[in-house]
């Protein structure tokens, strides 16, 4: 295990390559306390709210479910459970609009709320988690359906290996403009976040926990510092990092904190680091102390398209429309509904979609902000190269993506692109570069899937041919054996015949001879 992090405190915060200084627009939504949203009558729970395999439903329409009951279980190692946010009745399991960049439908469980708020039986571990083994805690986290709440939604328990890791980084950078859900969470629930951090630290046997916060959140820094001082164990330390987009990207943050780069194709664990969002740590705290699965999250509802921008704590599965109404509804010139921030978010075509685990922000723009961009040819100015935080060559990737040159794309490390959108932001020709990369990535995945399935088909076809050949051979063998048997039989019977006849003749001869002899002796007498 590498022990290179000991010098963190002394070293300057090393920056990463590129990045952008962006206007924050954070004050729009972070001036009020977290508002807890009243319950809706219907909840829509998508079965795929995480990276990995879609979860398997455990309920069927008509079933009564309790609050916190598991509705679907993970179908693979990389998969996550989903739970009922309320008590009520499962009305349907069908395709419905889900917040996904593709705009496609997916399978969702519909629950009608009975407003009884009846919880499933819970047995919280509480302060005794210190006595629990790592695998026991990981199981609690897995059963609670906890995924990375920073936006990537990778199942948390999979990230927490049984390996001992040196440093836990709690990511409170929240670098994307407009989004303030982590900011208000840190202001209001700092101690809970630290408890969550302590639990994760216990799972991975971490030596220290670094909480990274951008310097544009002084109140969150103050609250977290107070909680750290109160804790007094020395396990936690706050790192205030400069405000620079995308400092909250996992690899970028690790570079800032440790000064080391996660090698291509490797994981933070290879540097003995684990990185979790502060909201994920909070969810883990709730799971361990209250046996509460991930059924709610804090969502920033912001932008000039909504009347009262603010942060709300909302049950997962709540239709977005209800959330926007809770915030005073749309303004008159409200235009686009974006999930996520202005840099990495994507436009949604309906507000009937449910809030999912990944929904950190709903951004509502107004018409004057929406600018129709006319894409112009690339002039090779190289500004995208300057800002790329992953050290890639965006303009090269653009050419290769538009000419579908897979080999070159891979050579230029397409899959190291984190789709932060810096390149497209600075592009003077307004080329939607990230869309090109997204197209290239999904196409390559598709080709890999096709190759895999054609390999399986080839194997099945070969097995089929072999079987047919074997059948044919068997049949021929059987026929041959039968024919041989028949031939042998006639031969044998012929032989028997001959021998029998001869024996009969010999017998008859012997009899005749005997008679003759008898006759002879009789006459002689």
């Amino acid at each position: 295990m590498k022990q290179t992090k000991a010098h963190i405190a002394e070293k300057d915060l090393a920056g990463f390559h590129g990045g952008l200084k962006l206007a924050g627009h954070k004050q729009l939504s972070n001036s009020t306390a977290i508002s807890i949203m009243q319950q809706s009558s219907e909840y829509i729970i998508p079965l795929q709210q995480h990276i990995g395999a879609i979860s398997l439903p455990l309920v069927k329409p008509g079933d009564r479910v309790l609050k916190g009951q598991m509705l679907a279980k993970p179908d693979n190692l990389v998969s996550a459970a989903v739970h009922s946010p309320v008590s009520g009745v499962v009305t349907d399991i069908k395709q419905h609009d889900v917040p996904h960049v593709s705009g496609l439908d997916d399978l969702c469980i519909f629950i009608e709320n009975d407003f009884k708020d009846e919880w499933i039986k819970r047995e919280p571990v509480g302060d005794d988690y210190n006595q629990c083994t790592s695998s026991c805690l990981r199981k609690i986290i897995r059963d609670a359906g906890i995924v990375g709440l920073g936006g990537a939604t990778f199942p948390s328990s999979v990230k927490q290996t049984e390996m001992h890791l040196d440093t836990l980084i709690l990511n409170g950078a929240e670098c994307e403009p407009y989004i303030t859900c982590d900011d208000v969470l840190m202001r209001e629930r700092a101690e809970e976040i630290l408890s969550g951090g302590d639990i994760i630290g216990h799972v991975i046997k971490a030596r220290q926990c670094v909480i990274a916060i951008e310097d544009n959140k002084p109140e969150a820094i103050k609250a977290m510092q107070a909680a750290v001082d109160k804790d007094g164990t020395g396990f936690f330390q706050i790192k205030v990092i400069p405000t620079l987009y995308p400092s909250g990207g996992e690899k970028q943050l690790i570079k800032i904190i440790t000064g080391e780069e996660v090698p291509k194709g490797r994981y933070p664990a290879d540097l003995s680091v684990l990185c979790h969002n502060v909201a994920t740590a909070y969810a883990i705290y709730r799971a361990v102390y209250f046996a509460e699965p991930l059924i709610s999250r804090i969502v920033t509802i912001t932008g000039h398209g909504v009347k009262q921008p603010q942060n709300i704590e909302v049950l997962i599965g709540t239709p977005m429309k209800a959330c926007i109404q809770h915030c005073g509804g749309y303004t008159e010139d409200s235009d686009e509904l974006i999930m996520g921030g202005p840099m990495m978010g994507f436009s949604l075509n309906s507000d009937a979609m449910p809030v999912a685990k990944a929904s950190n922000c709903l951004l509502l723009t107004v018409k004057s902000e929406t600018r129709h961009k006319q894409q112009m040819p690339c002039i090779r100015c190289g500004r995208c190269v300057e800002v790329c935080p992953a050290n890639l060559l965006p303009q090269q990737l653009y050419w290769y993506a538009s000419s579908h040159n897979t080999d070159r794309l891979l050579e230029h490390n397409l899959f190291d692109c984190i789709e932060c959108g810096c390149c497209a932001y600075v592009c003077p020709s307004d080329i939607p570069l990230v869309q090109y990369y997204h197209h290239a990535k999904t196409t390559i995945w598709q080709q890999q899937r096709e190759r895999k399935s054609s390999d399986i088909s080839r194997l099945r076809h070969e097995a089929h041919q072999l079987r047919l050949e074997k059948q044919k051979r068997d049949r021929e063998e059987k026929l041959r054996k039968k024919r041989e048997l028949l031939k042998n039989k006639t031969k044998i019977s012929n032989a028997e015949d001959k021998a029998g006849k001869q024996a009969a003749i010999a017998e008859a001869l012997a009899r005749a001879q005997a008679k003759k002899e008898q006759h002879k002796t009789k006459t002689e007498k």
Binding site: Q48, I54, V98, H100, V101, S102, L104, D106, Q374, Q375, M376, P377, C378, Q396, W399, A401, S402, S403, P432, Q435, Y436, H438, H439, K441, T442, T443, W445, Q446, Q447, R449, E450, S453, S454, D455, I456, S457, R458, R460, H461, A463, H464, R467
Partner: protein
């Protein structure tokens, strides 16, 4: 003069022996070109190329008997890959062999109508149909390649084609639409 001829003959025979030994020792089983071509074909075994499967078609391409543009399930991507591999010009798909499907397809058996004749089971090149004589048959959808070879033998026409709709798990993002501007080659 004489020594020169003898020396050359000796050298030639020594190299001949080495080459002869190498040919036996390092003999490649099967035709590697056929394998490479076969690896690029979609393995639907549909026979639209007029050959009785992907491997026979690969063999025909390797021997120069067939063209590279006879595989509709593979479409342009396969033709492009074959052109790349064999270092020949790209040519558009030969329409005689069929058209490229907009979406991949699979077949399903209408289980109410199926009489359990097993003819489709015998026709399926990848053993993706399950059933027994006088019992209902069903298609294992994850293994179905969409070759449609099971449809003609069915005496009661109970096998139907379905398009596989994209989901959020296998969706492919579109390239952004560019109006009137074509980027020049790099």
């Amino acid at each position: 003069m004489f020594t020169v001829i003898i020396t050359l003959a000796l050298i030639a025979s020594i190299f001949g022996l080495i080459l002869g030994y190498a040919a036996i020792r390092f003999e490649v089983e099967g035709d590697p070109v056929v394998d490479k071509i076969d690896a690029l074909l979609p393995q639907t075994q549909c026979g639209q190329c007029t050959y009785p499967g992907c491997r026979p078609y690969a063999e025909a391409i390797a021997s120069g008997e067939a063209d590279i543009n006879q595989c509709p399930p593979g479409g342009e991507a396969t033709i492009m890959a074959l052109a790349d591999l064999l270092d020949v010009e790209f040519k558009p798909l030969n329409a005689e062999h069929g058209e490229v499907k907009a979406l991949p397809t699979i077949v399903r058996i209408d289980e109410q109508t199926c009489i359990g004749c097993t003819l489709c089971i015998q026709a399926c090149p990848v053993d993706a149909i399950l059933g027994a004589a006088k019992h209902m048959h069903t298609v294992i959808e994850s293994e179905c390649t969409g070759c449609n070879l099971c449809i003609p033998p069915c005496p009661v026409d109970c096998i139907h084609i379905f398009e596989v709709q994209p989901t959020i798990r296998n969706w492919v993002a579109e390239l952004p639409e560019v109006e009137n501007i074509t980027p020049r080659a790099a």
